[in-house]
Amino acid sequence: MAAESEQLTLVQAVRDGLHTEMERDEDVVVMGEDVGKNGGVFRATEDLYEEFGENRVIDTPLAESGIVGTAIGMAAYGMRPIPEIQFMGFIYPAFDQIVSHAARLRTRSRGRFTCPMVVRAPYGGGIRAPEHHSESTEAMFVHQPGLKVVVPSTPYDTKGLLTSAIRDPDPVIFLEPKLIYRAFREEVPADSYEVPLGEAAVRREGTDISVYTWGAMTRPTLEAAENLAGEIDVEVVDLRTLSPLPEGAIVDSFEKTGRAAVVHEAPKTGGLGAEIIATLQEESLLYQEAPVERITGFDTPFPLYALEDYYLPEAARIETGIRNAVEF
């Protein structure tokens, strides 16, 4: 008898989410480089090939634009393809297909054709990877109307958000924080369930400052919040969906605390932090007690791994940023 739930890592939850949806809906196919026999370079598609066969877990030629471009054709033809881009740093050859076509197929056909597709890509740094393996350029996709952008931070959410993304009628960019693929385990139900897109989660309640973050940065943010406990009462809001931005949750938290910081590992300029701050300025100016702090990566290409720890925000930097906002 199957277990009702299991302790899974985040990457196992990805696999579990793919598995339950593939069982439920035979239009769901997984495609990409090494996703088949090899089970994915991070094992995110492990054993799916054996169970569902080569027509549903498809090892493709090494060609990102081809993978996403053909997935668009499949999706328009009624299937539910899940193309995998092995690392977000390799997504740019497919960027044209994603922004020029997936994002606007519904618009430019006035609803006749749609693109129910989930592009999965491990993103972010901190795993001592080579060049082009550590990018987190989610803002580029958030900027594109027609796409949804989702970043889970826990195994439970990963399966639930991925399930929602697969069932969603629109194209979803699903960014997996590979830094925490195996960092911890969490109870994940064996049955399928949905965590709705577009809703943030308050990971820690607090009254002094709202800290907004997502994905791999959620854990060091929570760590910083714990370190400051007793001194500063920090609320941590995990956005989970970056597009459409869960504006209500962002504003509600801020109106409670009056101070805010944004933590993301992407470069500062034009990053999503700027959009969050603009939203607060538009919606909650009169609640604002201090400038909003941005604790982010730098406006440099992601460094080679000997220096990546300086680049990535971690608990100490986040603590300092929070203090700056509170002590203004």
Partner: protein, 369 residues
Amino acid sequence: MSTIQRDPRDRVQVLDEAGRVLEDADVPDLSEAKLVEMYEQMRLARRFDERAVSLQRQGRMGTFPPLSGQEGSQIASAHALEEDDWVFPSYREHGVGLVRGLSLERTLLYWMGHEQGSYVPEDVNVFSVAVPIATQIPHAVGAAWASRLRGERNAFLCYFGDGATSEGDFHEGLNFAGVFDTPTVFFCNNNQWAISVPRERQTASATLAQKASAYGFEGVQVDGMDPLAVYKVTRDAVEKARDPGAGELRPTLIEAVQYRFGAHTTADDPSVYRDADEVERWKQKDPIPRLENYLRRRDVLDDGRVDAIEDRIEDRVAEAIETAEASTRPEPDEIFAHVYEGMPKRLRRQLEYVESIRDRHGDDALLEG
């Protein structure tokens, strides 16, 4: 042997420039009625094109990509399809759309900038036009692949130009098609010029057709201004996509060698980059008189029938223009209507904002001219 199993440099031709059947030519089996229909549609596409360019010049329409010279390729290839087959066009296939059931009014509306012009009715198996070059090629492969995985027997005809063969998506699409044996027919409208850059600047290959051999399937070159040859080759390719012979792969790359008589779009001036002599030379191959002479020689057409066709065409184009121009300006909610299945809160608020500025200022103040 099938027409498409040949040296890619061996150009398929049925009619000479005067519309006479060449010796040993493989004349496709088409009824007289079908041939006359093709002729009429080619004439209609030509006349539509002339009027559309004129509308643009008069400021009654936006930028338009004319097709004159390419009617033989477009009309004849589209006739090679069955009803359930699919077309993945670029942006110049107004003639193909016409054959497949897309109204001229809708094509005009699209180029007049009305969002509704993008809508392809449910009973028309034509994908949305793709303006970025070669990007539709992987879509056609993906859809063909999905269709095959579902156990259907449909063929997918994908159009693009000679410039598209330089793009990565051309390579990636054809490569996937070969690897996954998808029922896709790649139809390259080699009209010699990618805006101002000649075919010789796109590739050092002797032909575009021969590129197919890199992907493991046939490439065939056809006289794109010879409608009978285009029909024959496309029909064979479509049939192979459905029912390949033993050891054959389903995809085919067709290089239809032709010429666009006019500009790439109404935004460029071809006299800057090509000689009048060159245009005149290609005009000798014009597909319309070629088919007309063939049909007159077979006593299928005479002056009376041609005049009647001309009258019908004139009326139809005039009517399409009248209908399109009578369409009222779409409401701004059209911009927001189809971004996502449901409208996110942010978008709804932006729509409300548009409505509020309309209320405050009135459309007259907001709209130019």
